[in-house]
């Protein structure tokens, strides 16, 4: 194991989860470990992971089997856009009560399904299990099976009890549910029809702010049809068609690698990792798709698209780059792959990443992060707020990229912030997204509001006492 970052403020057991590039001989980082009891962990649970992946299935009833909170907190909090049904934006909970916990919640679950199916014209219900359900041992399988038969629609249990792992386990549970949707047990394997137009399943885009639409449009321009997106703006019927794709392209590997592997085993669909964050990654991904499909005409169209789109956005990006050159960013996001893309994307706009962390990054991803980072960059797994604070201050970051809980932390430190998570407001993918990204970074880093905090820490009369360290 590598030597740790020594600091009395850090929890000893956490030291193996943090490293500074260039300071250790080996770049091993302890990741994917359980959070330590008594930490202000930023991590979420299995249910959260499963819900994140499945929530964008727009025409499903997402029924949370558990006490009310788990459902309340996930009511329409993801900015996944829909072009059809808005059913997924409602919150359904069995709202378990003490009696249900003592005597079991199966009956109530069955009633809830009956009532919902009666009210909403849905072909698909996901039933999420939460921690309590895992402990009281309700047989979700049996209830869902019976209800499926009764109503003649798909009712799929999602085994997402929160304590059986972390968010990654939830991704896995969601992928299992999707696989059951595509190929229900006991039904014949879907026959693969050959499509004259090459088509892809686009995995790991949740259509936040309409991102999947942008990418779908690029693909269309180069002559590739999107068969179905997993799971942004998807619906029951489209998901069922998944086996017909020529290729699976996968953006968020953290949540989708397992599904891609299974689809390869079951339907012989090869898969490819792509990233549409930043100009370079977007271009590379489009080229890879065309060379995989080995179509000269498509390759030509890809080059044309790259040329045209790059020309259209380059001046704007250059403009922002000139304003941002030399600024420093800290990155704390969910998955490792996104972190890698962000480092590259920040380079495109002249910004160095001085700290990078993830909630659920995998070992290979940390390896890559280490490889592409500059010397001195702090790399950490499952950071807590004190660590984020310490390294952001120490490294003089001007900007933090993170999720909901990190935003006010950054602001309190007088550091700019952008949300690269579910609260994002503009699409950040593709060429349009690259400009949006640059503009968003610029508008926060260069906002006049920081003037009042940097100089005197907000309070006029405590000048000096509260002033920020040299930036």
């Amino acid at each position: 194991m590598s030597t740790a970052v020594p600091n009395e403020n850090l929890i000893t057991e956490r030291q193996l989860s943090i490293l500074v590039k260039g300071r250790q001989r080996k770049n091993q980082l302890k990741c994917d470990a359980e959070s330590i009891a008594g930490c202000v962990s930023q991590r979420a649970c299995v249910y959260c992971g499963a819900r994140v992946v499945l929530n964008p299935v727009t025409d499903a009833i997402h029924l949370v089997h558990g006490p009310i909170g788990c459902a309340s907190y996930t009511w329409d909090i993801r900015g996944s856009l829909s072009s059809g049904s808005e059913l997924y934006r409602n919150s359904f909970s069995t709202d378990l009560k003490e009696n249900d916990v003592i005597f079991g919640g199966e009956k109530k679950l069955a009633r809830a399904i009956d009532e919902l199916v009666e009210k909403y014209p849905a072909e698909l219900v996901f039933v999420y299990s939460t921690c309590v359900v895992g402990v009281i041992g309700d047989d979700l399988e049996a209830v869902c099976r019976a209800a499926s038969q009764k109503h003649g629609i798909k009712i799929i249990p999602v085994q997402s009890s929160g304590f059986i792992g972390n968010k990654s386990a939830g991704y896995r549970a969601a992928c299992d549910a999707l696989l059951r949707l595509i190929e229900p047990a006991g039904e014949p394997r879907p026959v693969k029809r050959l499509n004259p137009v090459p088509s892809v399943n686009y995995l790991g885009d949740f259509n936040l702010a309409g991102e999947a639409w942008i990418i779908g449009d690029y693909l269309k321009q180069i002559g590739v049809e999107v068969n179905v997106v997993f799971t942004g703006d998807s619906n029951y019927r489209d998901l069922k068609k998944a086996p017909q794709a020529t290729l699976n392209i996968m953006q968020c590997a953290g949540s989708m690698a397992y599904l891609a592997r299974r689809m390869e085993e079951l339907y012989g669909i090869p898969s490819m990792q792509v990233s549409f964050l930043g100009l370079d990654d977007t271009a590379a991904s489009l080229r890879n798709i065309a060379s995989f499909l080995n179509d000269p005409e498509m390759k030509r169209r890809v080059e044309e698209l790259i040329r045209r789109e790059t020309a259209a956005v380059k001046p704007q990006i250059e403009h922002y780059r000139s304003k941002l050159l030399g600024k420093k960013a800290a990155v704390y996001v969910g998955g490792g792959f996104k972190a890698i893309s962000l480092i590259k994307q920040f380079r495109e706009i002249g910004i160095d990443v001085v700290m990078v962390g993830t909630q659920t990054g995998r070992e290979e991803e940390y390896q890559t992060l280490h490889d592409i980072s500059d010397d001195g960059t702090v790399i950490l797994d499952d950071a807590n707020p004190s660590e984020l604070e310490r390294f952001m201050t120490e490294k003089g970051a001007h900007l933090l990229v993170g999720g909901v809980k990190e935003r006010p932390l950054a602001y309190k430190l007088g550091v700019a912030f952008i949300d690269h998570n579910h609260d994002r407001k503009h699409p950040l993918s593709g060429y349009v997204g690259a400009v949006n990204f640059a503009r968003e970074v610029y508008s926060t880093v260069c906002s006049p509001v920081w003037k009042y905090t940097r100089e005197i820490g907000g309070g006029l009369f405590a000048a000096g006492k509260n002033a920020l360290p040299e930036r």
């Binding site: 929890i11 907190y73 909970s93 009532e115 809980k405």
Partner: protein, 461 residues
Amino acid sequence: MLDCTPKELIERTGGMINPAKTCQPIGAMYAALGIHNCMPHSHGSQGCCAYHRSHLTRHFREPVMATTSSFTEGASVFGGGGNLKTAIKNVFAIYNPDVMAVHTTCLSETIGDDVPTIIKSAEVPEGKLVIHANTPSYQGSHITGFSNMVKGMVTYLARATAEDKKEQVNIIPGFVNPGDMREIKRLADSMGIKFIMFPDTSGVLDSPMTGKFHMFPAGGARVDDIRDAGNSKLTLALGYYASSDAAHLLERNCQVPAVTLKTPIGIKATDELLMLLRGKFVREIPYELEEERGQLVDVMTDCHHHFYGKKVAIFGDPDIIIGLTEFVLSLGMRPVHVLTGTPGATLGGPKGILEKEIKAMLAASGLEGRVKAAGDLFELHQWIKNEPVDLLMGNTYGKYIARAEDIPFVRVGFPVMDRSTHPYMPIVGYRGALRLVEMISSALLDRQDRDAADEDLELVM
């Protein structure tokens, strides 16, 4: 498109659709943040804690610190005692708060962890405190959780140590914004009355920007003060649901008489609060407050014609909607639908306070309306479809209904996640009532302007 709610009312027994409540621990976490130098601790899996922190952060736009026992499968089989002990050790070693306030989650409750016993056998550093509250979410709501944590403060901290009761009042403000707590303190201050407010999230969740991050911001009720609450001559519980249980516990434990009042929203409830303080402490109401009251009445009379006869639907936490209902009635409006997700009784308290209280208010104004506890927003939406209203008041989640039915919407209560500044601005007291008048009339008149034909657009309204 967003309107998925059918109009026909149907009996339902299988849970909630679009809840008007959330779970106990978040209320406990919020209450615990109202103790100075206190780390709220969630005894359960890390997911709950992450959700509660995010949700509070979305409402307050402030960092929200809390630790978790990070349950794994082992803990769920063998109990979470080990996790909690490790957590206690780590929390004091790393974050060094004065107090750690442990609440349970559904999971630790279902497993049956005996938290007080675990705490007793844990290593707690000299001079540090661990308090706890049981907060199973399969009972009550976030309001119950708030109430339970305040009870925990009383149980663990408040002591009757003085011979005679002191000339001071305990104020339990209820689940309101820090801006409301500040306002209530200002009222007591301006009457020259010594008070102890707990919990008190002002200075914690509305803390100023200093360019530094403080794990424990400057605000919050001091432990010594909460201890001394046992020596006060009176406890004022503001709100039946969030505050009265703790006040009665304090009465039992320390013989401090408890009085429960409505959350002081609107003119009548604020009058009652000030009259009570005046009576108990033999003080005059200062001119400053007289003036504020007069100004409020002045504005109410100036524009009562904007409000008269308008139908309103109100939803949210019980203590808040009781106050809002009373106030809109005093403006001449008709609250025809009033709903909360919180079940109808405080734990162990009398049932149906909310329904009774609100029905009585309506009856006194010669009105009838639908009133329900333990309801959900699906049902409220159905009511509105069956009897349309001119205004909707409630938390952020009301925006779906407001849009589907195209009704003006005033955001009050918890959570408000799509607007800012509300944590700083009171709705309690005369000043708060003035603000409510402004919010309601702006919502109504903006709509009137929007919908007016060119020839009907008025300059002076």
